[in-house]
């Protein structure tokens, strides 16, 4: 990611203005009486994933980060917008529309996923080796049994499961949580994927195992030149992965990306008030400097995603909100690999925000605004 000129050739996955809206099933009477309750899980998100990239998606539960992650790797069809893998529209390939250069099967192979709960993603009745053989049989049917086993054992050894032959013949319940996660990782890596989506892959693990698992992810990312999309609600974990890999952190709120950029910029100098809130929520190991201060939000509960607030979606909780924020939606701006962007009117010194009246309930003397 050092050369800025060849960024376009570099892009593996490109997400353009995608939205994912869910309409819950309604009974017949309901459908007559009320408007459909559309949940806007993802709304108008654009971003690129380059070769060897690491993107950490951070947000509260229900902010749409998992839906966006699945959309990025083509496991969720967007209701709007497009997802392209090496210039091939994924859903055109699936529907066999237009000139399909890369078949959908190839796309599926190249984009893999590791789930949050490794135990649930492995068949409890099958030995590790059987679970791992299945995808190889499906995608490389010409490979003979010996080669297949050799490849699996080599990978198991690579992720630190030694002796591999011993682990290969265990059942999932005979493995610890960390070991199960490694098997899930091996299963994804067997496909030589270009991008792996790791959905909360370390949050279920014990604290002392998290750094170890993240180090393993980073090591494999370097060895296999795989890009990672890492979903987390934990800013510390996201920062660790993104900073070590030279990647980016993206902050999501109610279906939108509100800030994106290098972890150093986003976390050390957050521009969006919501990023500041998440920053506050992430505890530091410094009890002396840290008195428990009240959260820098006006409401600690997230609004209903069925009816997201108009204008800036954060305005109902934002400690800096002014009247203009209730109807004027801020744009995230450029989304290339380098620049940090924040979707907040406060980043524009000439915006009418600065002339707008404070919202009711927002304190006029906000100490944090004094030096901005």
């Amino acid at each position: 990611m050092s050369d800025t000129e060849s960024i376009d050739d570099d892009v593996v996955l490109s997400v353009e203005d995608v939205s994912v809206h869910f309409e819950p099933q309604q009974g017949f009477i309901d459908s007559l009486l009320s408007e459909p309750q559309t949940v806007r899980a993802v709304d108008g998100v654009s971003l690129d994933i380059a070769e060897n990239d690491v993107l950490a998606l951070v947000g509260e539960s229900g902010c749409g980060k998992t839906t966006l992650g699945k959309t990025i790797i083509g496991a969720q069809r967007p209701t709007d917008g497009s997802v392209t893998y090496r210039n091939q529209d994924i859903w055109d390939a699936k529907d066999d529309q237009g000139d399909v250069v890369i078949p959908f099967g190839e796309v599926r192979r190249a984009l893999q996923i590791i789930h949050q709960d490794p135990g649930a993603s492995l068949n409890p009745n099958k030995k590790v080796i059987t679970s791992l053989e299945a995808p190889l049989k499906r995608w490389e049917p010409e490979m003979n049994t010996e080669d297949r086993r050799a490849r699996i054992l080599a990978l198991l050894e690579r992720v630190g499961m030694v002796p591999p032959a011993d682990y290969a013949h265990r059942f999932p319940h005979q493995l610890s949580g960390g070991e199960q996660q490694r098997v899930a990782l091996v299963r994804a890596l067997l496909m030589n994927p270009d991008v792996i989506l790791a959905d909360e892959a370390v949050s279920a693990l014990d604290v002392s195992l998290r750094v170890e698992t993240m180090d393993l992810l980073l090591e494999l990312q370097k060895q296999f030149n795989t890009s990672f999309v890492f979903i987390s609600h934990n800013l510390s974990n996201a920062r660790y992965l993104a900073e070590e890999a030279g990647g980016r952190v993206a902050i999501m709120y109610l279906g939108e990306i509100v800030e994106i950029g290098a972890p150093e910029a986003v976390l050390n100098d957050p521009q969006h008030p919501y990023t500041k809130v998440l920053r506050w929520a992430t505890a530091d190991l410094d009890p002396s400097a840290e008195e428990m201060v009240d959260p820098p939000v006006r409401s600690i509960d997230v609004p209903d995603p069925v009816n997201p607030p108009a204008g800036c979606r954060f305005h109902t909780r934002c400690p800096e909100a002014r009247e203009v924020c209730t109807n004027d939606t801020p744009e995230l701006g450029a989304t290339d690999q380098k620049t940090r962007c924040a979707a907040c009117h406060r980043t524009d010194p000439d915006h009418e925000y600065w002339e707008s009246n404070l919202l009711k309930g927002v304190e006029t003397t906000n100490p944090s605004t004094a030096d901005d």
């Binding site: 170890e212 609600h233 800013l235 190991l285 410094d286 428990m292 959260p295």
Partner: protein
């Protein structure tokens, strides 16, 4: 062990109890002495809490930090004599209702006495509010049922319930009419905290009360707890696996490793001046926003199984400083500073051998 003697009124203490009670810290509200919990397996005993002595002081928040399986929930259960069969609790738990009064021996209470101490004096909040609430009863029903069961005045109690819910940033009208599944995780957890305080307890034991929630909600609840503790004059024991989460809230921290307390002291001391190898390893293993990634490292090895706890110091097999003494004898308490004790044979070597700069002086 004292709790194996026959039933007697808690207020009538035997001489030995009075003697022991005098050794408790003067401002302790709950004093645990030599608390152990054992499960009798087929061929050997499994100790899931091993000779733990700790005080919860009046008006403080004590953070108990340990990894999964370190026995931290057992400690909370033992404090309410709520260890499930066939677990056997030994040692003593003394609860001081008044700061200058006589203690109640929790482990020797009859069923009825225990019933009134729980909820009315010592209350407990668990992780996962959804499983604590009855799915077929609205939240109001839970408050009313609790008040009726303990012969409290329902009308006055519901007034208090509304106040508690507002203190926790909840809308009482909406919450009381709701069923648990209709609330978000953060809302139902806060409703559960309000419910645990409805009978005006003085001690609140919280076992991972925020673990299933988002970081933002966790921290918000913690900052509310800080306010609530002052307002309702509570003493709180906060159990968690998340050291950074509780470090800013707790007055003191106790680090639990493999069923024993490794180190206990004021939070600043534990974070900035730890003298136990495990505490330091834990501090280094936890990702935070401040610590440089290069200085983080995982802890080698795994924690012991309760049926195969190593002899001597439980941390010895993973400890880079372990000597023969560590592997055979139980380490003594070493007073690092007033109120700061570590269970280690060579605490003076620890800061030098296991460097941790992530605390106050992030050099």
């Amino acid at each position: 062990m004292t709790n194996q003697t026959t039933q007697r009124r808690p207020q009538q203490l035997e001489d030995s109890d009075v003697q022991q009670a005098r050794n408790d810290t003067p401002n302790a509200i709950v004093a645990v002495r030599n608390g152990s919990v054992t499960y009798d397996l087929e061929n050997r005993d499994a100790m899931v809490l091993d000779d733990v002595s700790i005080d919860l002081k009046r008006g403080e928040i004590l953070g108990v930090v340990g990894e999964s399986g370190s026995g931290k929930s057992m400690l909370a259960n033992a404090m309410m004599d709520a260890v499930e069969e066939p677990g056997i609790t030994t040692g003593s738990v003394r609860y001081y209702p008044e700061s200058d009064g006589n203690p109640v021996n929790v482990l020797e209470l009859s069923r009825g006495e225990l019933q009134s101490v729980r909820w009315e004096e010592i209350s407990m909040v668990f992780q996962g509010a959804l499983s604590s609430f009855n799915p077929t009863m609205d939240i109001r029903g839970h408050f009313e049922e609790t008040l009726t069961a303990h012969d409290y005045d329902v009308e006055a109690g519901m007034k208090r319930a509304r106040q508690l819910l507002s203190d926790l940033h909840l809308d009482p009208d909406r919450i009381l009419e709701s069923y648990a599944h209709e609330l978000s995780g953060g809302m139902s957890q806060r409703a559960l905290i309000a419910l645990s305080l409805i009978l005006e307890p003085t001690v609140l034991l919280m076992d991972e009360p925020t673990a299933a929630l988002d970081l933002l909600m966790q921290r918000s609840i913690l900052s509310l707890l800080d306010d609530i503790k002052e307002k309702y004059e509570l003493s709180i024991l906060f159990i968690t696996h998340d050291l950074p989460l509780v470090a800013g809230l707790a007055d003191r921290l106790a680090i639990l490793y493999a069923f024993e307390i490794a180190e206990v002291g004021p939070s600043e001391e534990i974070i900035g001046n730890s003298h136990h190898p495990y505490t330091r390893a834990l501090l280094k293993a936890v990702p935070t926003l401040e610590t440089p990634p290069a200085s983080m490292e995982p802890i080698e090895g795994t924690a012991p199984n309760p049926a195969h706890t190593p002899a001597g110091c439980h941390y010895a097999p993973r400890c880079p400083l372990a000597t023969d003494a560590c592997r055979t004898e139980t380490p003594p308490w070493d007073d690092v500073n007033p109120g700061h004790r570590t269970a280690c044979f060579h605490p003076e070597k620890v800061p030098e051998a296991i460097r941790f700069d992530g605390g106050e002086n992030g050099s």
